[in-house]
Amino acid sequence: MPEARALESPAITLDEQSIIDFAQLFDPQPYHLDRAAADASIFGGLCASGWQVGALASRLTGEALVDAGISYITTTRVNHMRWLRPTFVDDQLVAQVSFGGSVQGSPVPDCDSLDVSVVLKDAQDQAVAEMTCRVAVAKGETA
């Protein structure tokens, strides 16, 4: 059996402003907005909303696939996603993407589906989140 091909996305750095911008719009809880409150919270420091992390994981997954010549359109399903550690200010994230199967058709018009496993890692190579998901790719371009 050939080993499944694993791709690595470009890196993205989450600065304080982008964490706070997202939190103000979508997740206005103290540990995503305010350093002092965050230090005293369950997370132990100002950290990104888990939904911002999820959105970035999909963005990076798409970039890794597009770089590999696969025309990623969007994510249609997350079978499972687990947040493993908080993403703190200035953490740099990279998505490692490996392939599962491909399926004919997709909820997205003119697309087929590709199942992928994604590990989102920080600069210390620690896993921040992992997810298995189904993405839509333009027809005729599944792996």
Binding site: S18, F22, L25, F26, D27, P28, Q29, P30, A37, I42, F43, S49, G50, W51, Q52, G54, A55, L56, S58, R59, G62, I73, T74, T75, T76, R77, V78, N79, H80, M81, R82, W83, P107, V108, P109, D110, C111, M131
Partner: protein
């Protein structure tokens, strides 16, 4: 005897089967474009003109935008119904998402209504302090069609 507000309830106080319709939001073209610019920068999601010629025949919201708005509506709901608590939040940290499906496109001007139901509580105790509550969450558009559903495991502080 003091009242139990939604946000300061412990793990044991939260009943399986509890159901809430906790918020609605009408998505504007501008906010869809702004979200996509940061998190899904492709023409289908961020360029209203180009999107007309593309696969959905017009701009659609990025999937995670619908989730992000779920979070905002949940926070707002908890803040409004948690009077009497300075910062007594005893739950909220998410652990995992299961079976998140985006089922139909959401277009500018569409209104989503979000619901959640507590479906199960785990016996597992995390760090001697937290229980895990699983809820089923759904979003419906103005036609009554389900456009998103998922389950999420969230930590809730135990009373004992």
């Amino acid at each position: 005897m003091s009242a139990l507000y939604l946000r300061n309830r412990g793990f044991e106080d939260i009943p399986v089967g509890e159901f809430h319709v906790f918020g609605s939001h009408t998505f504007s073209e501008l906010e869809m474009v702004e979200f996509a610019t940061r998190y899904a920068p492709t023409p289908e999601f961020m360029d209203p003109e180009a999107a007309r010629q593309l696969r959905w025949g017009g701009l659609v919201a990025t999937p995670w935008h619908l989730c992000a708005m779920w979070m905002r509506k949940m926070v707002d709901y908890m803040e409004v119904y948690a009077q009497g608590v300075n910062d007594g939040r005893r739950n909220g940290a998410g652990v995992a998402i299961l079976e998140l499906d985006w089922l139909e496109p959401v277009r500018p001007g569409h209104t989503l209504t979000y619901t959640y139901e507590i479906v199960s509580k785990s016996d597992k105790v995390v760090r001697d302090r937290w229980g895990i509550i699983r809820s089923r969450n759904e979003a419906f558009n103005q036609y009554g069609n389900k456009v998103m559903s998922f389950e999420i495991d969230i930590l809730a502080e135990r009373n004992h």
